[in-house]
């Protein structure tokens, strides 16, 4: 695995066995009796490499496969992807960022404007409401004033009528009283003359002349 990560593995693994580089050779795994290579390598790694190359066709094929494995393999892909990115940027700018952004900004502005209008009408509505309240108050005051005046007028009228009635009643009463008095005096006078005649008679009867 470690070999695959190294881009420099191309130089480390010279193809000793010229084989067609098949992508995935499914060869039988070799028996482990082939180990004849002398252990004269300075480092374990190079030993491993040489062993891998020299020992079996599988290892050689694997080496050939690994030879192509390169993680840090810079080539024309880099500039072409960069160019693709720049083209994509221009295309997206033309089709997405600029038109939709502009559209959103315009909508934002229009909504803000409408919102401002709505705020204005709300103040208007408040003003109208105040006006209506003022009108109502004035009307109420007028009505109550009229009511008061009417009450006053009617009470004056009623009192006048009342006073008139009372005066009439008093006058009648006085008249009746005067009539009664006169009758009383008349009867008293009549009674006086009768008393005198009666007493004369009594005297005549009692005192025989």
């Amino acid at each position: 695995m470690a070999n695959m990560v190294m881009a420099s593995s191309k130089n480390l693994l010279p193809s000793l066995h010229p084989q067609p580089p098949t992508p995935k050779p499914h060869l039988p795994i070799p028996t482990q009796t082939q180990t004849q290579t002398p252990l004269s390598f300075p480092s374990l790694k190079s030993a491993a490499l040489t062993a891998a190359i020299a020992l079996s066709p599988v290892s050689a094929a694997m080496a050939a496969e690994m030879e192509k494995a390169a993680l840090f393999d810079f080539n024309l892909t880099l500039p072409s992807i960069a160019a693709e990115f720049l083209l994509l940027m221009v295309a997206l700018d033309k089709t997405y960022f600029t038109p939709l952004g502009k559209f959103m900004d315009e909508r934002d502005a229009s909504i803000r404007e409408k919102l401002g209008d709505v705020k204005d009408t709300s103040s208007e509505v408040k003003q109208m409401e105040e006006q209506a309240a003022a009108i109502m108050r004035a009307a109420r005051a007028e009505v109550s004033a009229a009511l008061n005046q009417m009450k006053k007028e009617t009470s004056v009228e009623v009192e006048a009528k009342l006073a008139e009635g009372r005066k009439k009643v008093e006058a009648e009463l006085e008249e009746a009283l005067a009539a009664l008095e006169r009758q009383k005096e008349e009867t008293i006078a009549a009674l006086d003359s009768q008393i005198a005649a009666l007493s004369d008679e009594i005297v005549k009867k009692v005192l025989p002349v």
């Binding site: 695995m1 695959m4 990560v5 992508p23 995935k24 499914h26 795994i29 070799p30 482990q32 082939q34 180990t35 290579t37 252990l39 374990l44 030993a47 491993a48 062993a51 891998a52 020992l55 599988v58 290892s59 694997m62 192509k68 494995a69 390169a70 993680l71 840090f72 393999d73 810079f74 080539n75 024309l76 892909t77 880099l78 500039p79 072409s80 992807i81 960069a82 693709e84 990115f85 720049l86 994509l88 940027m89 221009v90 295309a91 997206l92 700018d93 089709t95 997405y96 960022f97 600029t98 038109p99 939709l100 952004g101 559209f103 959103m104 909508r107």
Partner: protein
């Protein structure tokens, strides 16, 4: 020697079983240069997906957005927000760059996890996310470097290079080094994450083909999204950093 052979065989066996193909490429020759065909093919698919969905959804914008338009408006708001946070008030001209960066990386990463690339057999190598090739990530990181140099130079002219001796000239080597570490870290972070993610999924699938890899796949989707966000955010941050006035 036996040990070495044994381990070599075991390695070969594992390699065959898992079917992991790391660093295997399908090569095309273009005018004497080689390209990794599988990367180009998948990147075309990604670009086609992006352009197709965008044109379908945004062709006729409505005042009250429908599903597709709503989604793309959300994405645009997200990208604008990201650029505004990192770059500041003058973020407008940079929205296409940051947005394309984010969308391309995001769709690439997710395509590696969601699209059934393995159904298409290639003579050599295999189709996967374009971002698991170092060429792609460097191809995205280098324009970022160019972009922040361009941003700084247009904003401040040659005074931009004054930042190399800020806050003290002693930091000059480190400041120069930063210009190299920025694209390096950007590209290697994305490359390593996506490659490792796909490798983990492939190895797990080869070991336990059912159920067990699913959480890792979801983790992979999460990581992919995060990586796209990180790349775009850092690109915006570099641009914003080179545009802001030095104190």
């Amino acid at each position: 020697m036996n040990v070495i052979l044994c381990s070599s065989n075991m390695l070969k066996g594992l390699y065959d079983i898992s079917g992991v193909e790391v660093g295997q490429h399908l090569y095309w020759q273009i005018g004497g240069f080689q390209v990794h065909a599988q990367v180009l093919i998948t990147s075309w698919v990604v670009i086609a997906i992006l352009l197709g969905s965008v044109t379908v959804a945004v062709r006729n914008p409505q005042t009250i957005p429908t599903n597709g338009q709503n989604f793309f408006e959300y994405v645009l708001e997200f990208i604008r927000d990201l650029s505004k946070t990192q770059i500041g008030e003058e973020y407008g001209p940079w929205v296409p760059f940051i947005g394309t960066m984010f969308l391309f990386i995001f769709v690439s990463n997710w395509s590696g996890a969601l699209l059934p690339w393995k159904l298409i057999e290639l003579p050599h190598g295999e189709l996967a996310a374009p971002t698991n090739d170092i060429n792609t990530t460097v191809a995205l990181a280098l324009p970022t470097s160019v972009a922040y140099f361009y941003a700084g130079l247009t904003k401040k002219g040659l005074g931009y290079f004054g930042k190399y001796i800020q806050p003290t000239p002693i930091l000059l080597p480190i400041n120069i080094l930063e210009d190299f570490t920025k694209p390096l870290s950007l590209s290697f972070r994305l490359f390593g994450n996506i490659l490792a993610d796909e490798l983990v999924v492939v190895v797990l699938v080869s070991l336990v083909p059912l159920v067990v890899p699913i959480p890792v796949m979801f983790l992979g989707l999460f990581t992919s999204g995060i990586q796209a966000l990180i790349f775009a955010t850092l690109a915006a941050a570099y641009i914003g950093e080179s545009m802001e006035g030095h104190h």
